[in-house]
Amino acid sequence: MSTIPSMIGSPIRRREDPRLITGRATYVDDVKMVGTVYAAFVRSPYGHAKVRSVDVSAAKERPGVVAAYAAADLIAAGLNVSIPVAADLPGLKKPAHPPLAIDEVRFVGEPVAVVVANTPYAARDAVEAVAVEYDQLEAAIDLEKAAAGPPYVHEDLGTNVAFVMPVKTGDPEAAFAEADVVVKERIVNQRLIPCPMEPRSMLAHWDTGAAHLTLWTSTQIPHLLRTNLALLLGLGEIKVRVIAPEVGGGFGAKLNLYGEEIVVSWLSTQLGRPVKYIETRSENFAAMTHGRDQIQYIEVGAKKDGTITGLRMKIFANLGAYHQLLTPGIPTFTPLMSPGCYKLTGFDCEVTGVFTNTMATDAYRGAGRPEATFMIERAIDLVALELGLDPVDVRRKNFIGSGEFPFTTITGLTYDSGNYAASLDKALELVDYKGLRAKQEELRKQGRYLGIGFSTYVEVCGMGPSAAMPAPGWDSAQVRVEPTGSVTVMTGISPHGQGEETTFAQIVSAELGVPIDSVSVIHGDTDKVQYGVGTFGSRGTAVGGAALKLAIDSIQAKAVKIAAHQWEANPDDVEYKDGKITVKGDPSKSMTTAEVGFTAFRGVGLPPGLEPGLDATRRFEPPNFVYPFGAHVCVVEVDADTGEAKIVRYIAVDDCGRVINPLIVDGQIHGGLAQGIAQALYEEAVYDENGQLVSGTFMDYAMPRAHQLLAFETDRTTTPSPVNPLGVKGVGEAGTIGSTPAVVNAVMDALAPFGVKNIDMPLRPEKLWKAMHANSNGKVNE
């Protein structure tokens, strides 16, 4: 089928923006219902404590308070549930996770009671009146100590180890036997806090007349949330509607079902009134899922010429105190992607998932893959350093060749398509690598420390084949040609900033030849849209867009039949060309989609036996994941006096397959780079030894501001994916996955004259300054 070329690949302004730039968009907190009451949660101030008693009686006496509940009250009223975990592993320990803690709290911010009042202010006041008696317990905070022994987060388990997953493939013994050198390192991938700008927000409305619940919530997965919520509340699924209205960012942290969503929904059924809960930023820091948090012991075997032979890893993954929806599944991505874009002959890894008295970790932009990419890209540089080789050459030496796709990796994944050398070549050219190395040499003589860092990443996304996912991996689209020729698209994905209202309209416009302004893309409402899986894992266009393409194909096939009948032509001689239906070789015969759509609506003049109407609902089951890749180059200068690492240039050459809208693709890369750079230089979630979250506000958690980042230089190569009919890969997470190691490699390169090989992230000035001013004994010269 041909397309209107100008629509695909055009930097079309986003259709969703007019409402957003004028302040007329509707986020959850902007939904107002008469009679709404407001919930506020009482949360644990301790990382680990026995709850001796919870007394809500004084809170109930406060002015404006409607109700107050402790866990026992919920259970007595029939809500005795555990927050679900969808990811499963052999032997996985799954401790109960009640939405309100019953007799023990296991992380700071864990809810212990809820109050409901007529105003948010009154609810917040009433929280102060709930009396909770705690007996503080020793907290398990340090990841490796927690893995080794007590104190236990869940005493009854007798261990903090939730699972151990071995992955051994190829012949690691032989691989290491043929290695000339073995490089060992302990790599820390610190805990991060996702920080979408809109905190978790929810409004539940139990319609007592219809016995029907509507939950507006800031989520990435409205349908999955609806199914789970219905099961937890014992309601028929048809009695629950979930609406994700405008959603102010998610980054994986809204790919979940939170206890607060269960409790607020339940409260509305009990009180018969709309119940709203908008968390504070402090609550968001403490009680929305965190990301990353792994310690990896690695051994890399390499030959003198830079050929990587084998990889051994022992990974400790911090799960937090409880499982959220995908918690134990996230670190299992790490070994799978650890080989990166390189060929190895031996791989031996063990992942240990560990409970600690901290907030649960779960998906955060990249979700298990940044941890792999950071490790392997740092490892390549460490090998290069050990062997005295250029890190660029070591990468080239080990690349999977462009002619080797589809390529099955040592960990069993099949990379769909790629050309790693091409993106690296382009990046090197953009940065003038030779000239930069010369400049580095010259500056070093002046006591200035320039560093050049690379990352040639590949990532797995377009989640994913259903058989390889903890939930369905397909997605859906319905396309309806309306009687007037407008086109309505119902998509099962749930965008929250990714711009599919625009890109999907571009696809429809190109394929069906309708003006883009005649296309409406609807999402995020389970009563409007057929079942869909949602937006995460860079799957929106690769899976949801592919489903849209299938639906368009169905529409075109039907339109061709109708047009052929009208012209008394053979349907085989009729085709869609440049958005119009024509007879091959006879340009005088032409119909628009709108014309055929009206005929189909009117129901007159249709081929015998063909149903009226021009619409289609299709689902795309991905036969494989997609594997975007790219080459990033970071140039930093580290100030010897202050230790501050300043990024001078950042070049990102990314390949996400076919591009629908370059404006949006670049935007996704920019945001991804910012988050990846932030991990390298700024952000770190810190708990003290008692489990107190020290980095619990924007004043303490160093999410970057504009002056801490720079103008990114982006470019791309285009290697279409054979996995879906659009040829697209994902782009939401690529920037984050690729950038962190490029920055750290650049800083380590800058510090090479000081004999520095590895410093744990974030690379704060004080750490770098100390490394630059340490004497041969490792002591700092003050």
């Binding site: 923006d17 007329r24 968009a25 979408p196 700008m197 670049d666 920019h670």
Partner: protein, 171 residues
């Protein structure tokens, strides 16, 4: 309770408010102007930025009562779909937003930045918006938008409507 008289987006309001009511909640909940958002509780994120007598303030750090006798401009008063402010148009054209949650506050801050410095360098733009956090864009396209808006405002280009701009499509 006390009475406040506030001018918001050119209209006069008089309301009884709790002394502790924050300006942002007054705007959002009393007046229903929900374009101003709340993104934090430490005056760090800037999502709630509005103009108070033409100067940007974080409305989560101002009591409604303090704003009595003053004029407030929210994103709704900056421009609308019939006549976009050049800054709004520039954010749209340059893809200076993704999820849109920080956007109203960001646009208001950027307008105040150009009031103080009509022709800022990129570094001055970045320093000028450091009170506003954005998690989606990496700020790159916001900087481009401010540059474009500065040029448009310098050229005193007329305000355009969403309807005028939509069919053009490409940025």
């Amino acid at each position: 309770m006390e009475t406040v008289n506030i001018e918001v987006n050119g209209r006069s309001y008089s309301n009884e408010v709790e002394p502790r009511l924050l300006l942002v909640h007054y705007l959002r909940d009393t007046l229903g102007l929900t374009g101003t958002h709340v993104g934090c509780d430490t005056s760090s994120c800037g999502a709630c930025t509005v103009l108070l007598d033409g100067i940007s303030v974080k409305s989560c750090t101002v009591f409604a009562a303090q704003a009595g006798g003053h004029a407030v401009t929210t994103i709704e008063g900056i421009g609308n779909s019939g006549a976009l402010h050049p800054m709004q148009e520039a954010f749209w054209a340059k893809h200076g937003l993704q999820c849109g949650f920080c956007t109203p506050g960001m646009i208001v801050s950027c307008i105040d930045l150009l009031r103080r410095n009509p022709d800022p360098s990129d570094a001055e733009i970045r320093a000028g918006i450091e009170g506003n956090l954005c998690r989606c864009t990496g700020y790159e396209n916001i900087v481009r938008a401010v540059r474009a808006a500065a040029a448009a405002m310098k050229a005193d280009e007329p305000r355009r409507s969403v309807a005028e701009l939509l069919p053009v499509g490409a940025s």
